[in-house]
């Protein structure tokens, strides 16, 4: 299966191979010229949703917007695990972290996302034991080193990250570690696409599919959406050449009226995906009836939970009577919901760059480096207005 975590990577891995060739200036310029020519044939504007925040980041970080003609627009989708996390789930994480003898572990930017009464970073500053991990498997050592504490892994992410949590759970079971528990917030991409397309006002008529998700789940997961919504989907890598090539293919497919799924990221994505990883996920997880997404509201069958067999590791069950359950919406001025649904651009939001900045985020899209507002703030450039 795909390596579950960086810590397990082969030490001989040549990092250069991760990017070499995929940022070639001549190739990018040539692709830009071809997109320009092909886009002239479009009968109506193409509204491409890049579902994943990683693609938003690539588009902004590498300045690709400036190379794309005006009739090809981007709409930033709900594929950022930090952005879609509702406040009540963060409140639950904070409640766990504030309990005596609990160590709360999570990944990356999640510690900065505001819940209804602050973030995990603020809870940490107030004395809670909150630790960001680089590698989920580090949780094993922390649980072993703290036998008198309950270590809770606040698990987040899409199909890409779920196998990592499954591996961690498998290892915790094998090591018979009684004090490692899980608060599961893994979400699924296809139901989010359906939710976006169910919005009557949506303009989206093409998708860039998240490649990391398809490395695990395969290109097959987009087939139904492409047919149901009559939209082409190109599963794309994250380097600038990948994204430019994918945009070109989408424009070509639109010109030929083909609503098909294509894989640009063929170096890692297959039709079926990583079956070993899928089996591992299936062993430990099952689909929830419903999960409330920030900005999108409840979406049926859009997230995972632990199977009953592993209820002894489920922090939601174990601490259930002490976790807040009240659903909390974003600040009224915040337009993250519209942005995540593809109905607004970050710069349409009245508080963007004013009341809402990466240092003082009102909404989750401004928090994560994968978030659309954060990417626009960092790279597109707006003067901060006090």
């Amino acid at each position: 299966m795909t390596e579950p975590a960086t810590g397990e990577m082969n030490s001989s891995l040549k990092l250069k191979s991760l990017y070499e060739g995929f940022r070639d200036a001549d190739t990018i310029r040539a692709l830009a010229a071809r997109i320009g020519n092909e886009a002239k044939k479009l009968s109506a504007p193409l509204y491409i949703m890049e579902v994943c925040g990683g693609h938003t980041h690539t588009i902004m970080k590498y300045g690709l917007l400036g190379l794309i003609p005006d009739n090809v627009k981007f709409i930033h989708g709900p594929g950022c695990p930090v952005c879609v996390m509702p406040k009540e789930r963060i409140d639950q994480a904070i409640a766990l972290a504030n309990m005596d003898d609990v160590i709360l572990l999570t990944l990356g930017d999640m510690i900065r996302v505001p819940g209804s009464k602050g973030s995990l970073a603020q809870a940490r500053a107030n004395g809670a034991d909150v630790r960001p991990l680089y590698d989920p498997l580090d949780a094993l050592a922390i649980a072993k080193d703290n036998p008198n504490k309950t270590v809770v892994f606040f698990a987040i992410g899409f199909e890409t990250s779920t196998p990592m949590t499954a591996v961690l759970l498998r290892e915790a079971e094998r090591a018979a570690l009684p004090n490692l528990m899980f608060h599961i917030n893994h979400v699924l991409v296809p139901p989010a696409i359906d939710a976006v397309m169910a919005e009557p006002a949506t303009k989206v008529n093409a998708f860039i599919g998240p490649a990391h998700v398809s490395v695990i789940s395969g290109a097959k997961i987009y087939r139904r959406a492409a047919e149901a919504h009559h939209t082409p989907v190109v599963v794309s890598g994250f380097e600038p050449v990948d994204v430019m090539e994918s945009i070109l293919r989408l424009v070509e497919l639109k010109n030929h009226a083909e609503s098909v799924v294509e894989v640009q990221y063929s170096r890692a994505v297959s039709e079926q995906g990583n079956l070993t990883a899928q089996a591992l996920v299936d062993e430990y997880f099952e689909v929830r009836d419903s999960f409330r997404w920030r900005g999108l509201g409840p979406i049926p069958q859009s997230a995972l939970k632990l199977r009953d067999k592993y209820a002894h590791r489920d922090a939601e069950i174990h601490f259930g009577d002490r976790l807040p359950v009240q659903e909390i919406d974003d600040h009224k001025a915040c337009q993250c919901g519209d942005i995540l649904r593809g109905l607004a651009n970050p710069m349409d939001c009245k508080v963007f760059g004013r009341g809402c900045t990466p240092q003082t985020p009102l909404g989750s899209c401004m928090v994560s480096s994968e978030g659309a507002c954060n990417a626009y703030y960092r790279y597109h450039g707006v003067q901060h207005v006090d």
Binding site: T6, G7, M9, S11, L13, K14, L15, K16, L18, Y19, R23, A25, I28, R29, A32, C52, G54, H57, M60, K61, Y62, G63, L64, L65, G66, L67, P81, V82, L107, G108, D109, M110, I111, R112, A121, P132, Y134, D135, I156, G157, F158, T160, S161, H212, P240, P358, Q359, S368, S369, E370, Y377, R378, Y379, H380, G381, Q383
Partner: protein, 334 residues
């Protein structure tokens, strides 16, 4: 009493402390001012003087290319050098956690002494405290330094439209090395911190009649922070050619893996400089030929508008703002 590790008694002001100071610190940093053992060092300062202080709390204490001791000397010496000052006298404050291995302390002190020799500065006074186990993370150091101003007038406020921007070496290696050491990554050999004293390189520049407007070592916040601070302080626009910024393959790869940007990562032996564009090639040649800065490069220029912003030009012809890094450096999620 164990001599293999630091005990609370080593900070008690008595026999053990006396032994530690004499046998370790005095021996390593030996000079006549320190040996006088007065309540304060008596110095003979003349003319304009630069004065700076910095505390060091790095984790882990030892990393590829350096350690906290080398960092504590390089950090303060470099702050002086960046103001055009020849580093002369340093103080050293040491806070040690009870139980800290004596061998590690000795290695760190030896590393400091070695780094001091490269710049000619002396440690002339100091302070040692030992705190109970759990009250510090191993070892904290503070160094304060004074230096004689050789080249007056360097300032973050002095950039002018028409200046060129230079870096003295490839960027991001210290931040990347610390990350690798912290996370136990063994991905590619050869990635080392750039941690080093910069005075010898700066001295080579200052003997030439370059009209240098500003210098700054790109420490925490990296190149992005220095350029943004300069753009704001001088009320100018700075534009950078991304392709011209030297970044090692190892740092690029690590950035890929974690979603970081090399321009945000810390450096501890790389500085940024602004001077009139007409003098840039000459300064570059001096840095490369005499300053041991083989990766030095001209990376951009100073303009007027939009004032306060740094613009990055990509190799494929698009532009974006290079913003200030913010918050903790945390890896991306997917």
């Amino acid at each position: 009493m164990s001599t293999n590790s630091i005990q609370l008694a080593h900070g008690g002001g008595g026999l053990e402390m006396n032994k530690l100071i004499r046998n370790l610190f005095f021996k390593a940093f030996d000079n006549c001012i320190l040996r006088n053992e007065e309540d304060a060092a008596l110095l003979n300062l003349q003319g304009p003087t630069a004065f700076t202080t910095d505390s060091f709390t790095v984790s882990p204490l030892f990393f590829a290319g350096g350690d906290i001791g080398k960092l504590a000397i390089a950090g303060t010496v470099n702050d002086l050098a960046m103001m055009g000052a020849e580093p002369q006298y340093l103080s050293l404050g040491v806070i040690i956690e009870e139980g800290f291995p004596m061998a590690s302390l000795e290695a760190i002190v030896a590393s400091m002494a070695s780094e001091l020799k490269k710049c000619g500065a002396k440690i002339v006074c100091g302070d040692t405290k030992v705190v109970p186990k759990g009250c510090a993370d191993g070892l904290f150091l503070n160094t304060t330094g004074v230096g004689r101003i050789v080249k007056p007038g360097l300032s973050a406020k002095n950039l002018r439209a028409g200046d060129a921007i230079l870096v003295s070496g490839d960027i991001g290696r210290h931040g990347a090395a610390i990350l690798m050491a912290r996370e136990g990554l063994e991905l590619e050999s050869g990635l080392e911190s750039d941690c080093a004293t910069l005075w010898s390189s700066v001295e080579q520049l200052l003997v030439h009649p370059f009209d240098i407007h500003a210098m700054r070592d790109a420490t925490r916040g990296g190149l992005a922070a220095v350029l943004n601070e300069w753009a704001a302080a001088s009320d100018v626009m700075i534009e950078v050619d991304e392709a011209a910024v030297p970044v090692s393959d190892e740092v690029k790869g690590l950035c890929e893996l974690y979603g970081f940007e090399a321009t945000d990562l810390a450096n501890e032996g790389t500085f940024v400089m602004a001077l009139p564009a007409a003098q840039a090639e000459g300064a570059l040649e001096v840095l490369k030929r005499f300053g041991h800065c083989e990766h030095a490069a001209i990376i951009g220029r100073v303009g007027e508008s939009p004032a306060g912003r740094v613009i990055l030009h990509t190799p494929w012809g698009s532009n974006r703002y290079l913003d200030l890094p913010a918050g903790e450096l945390l890896p991306r999620i997917c």
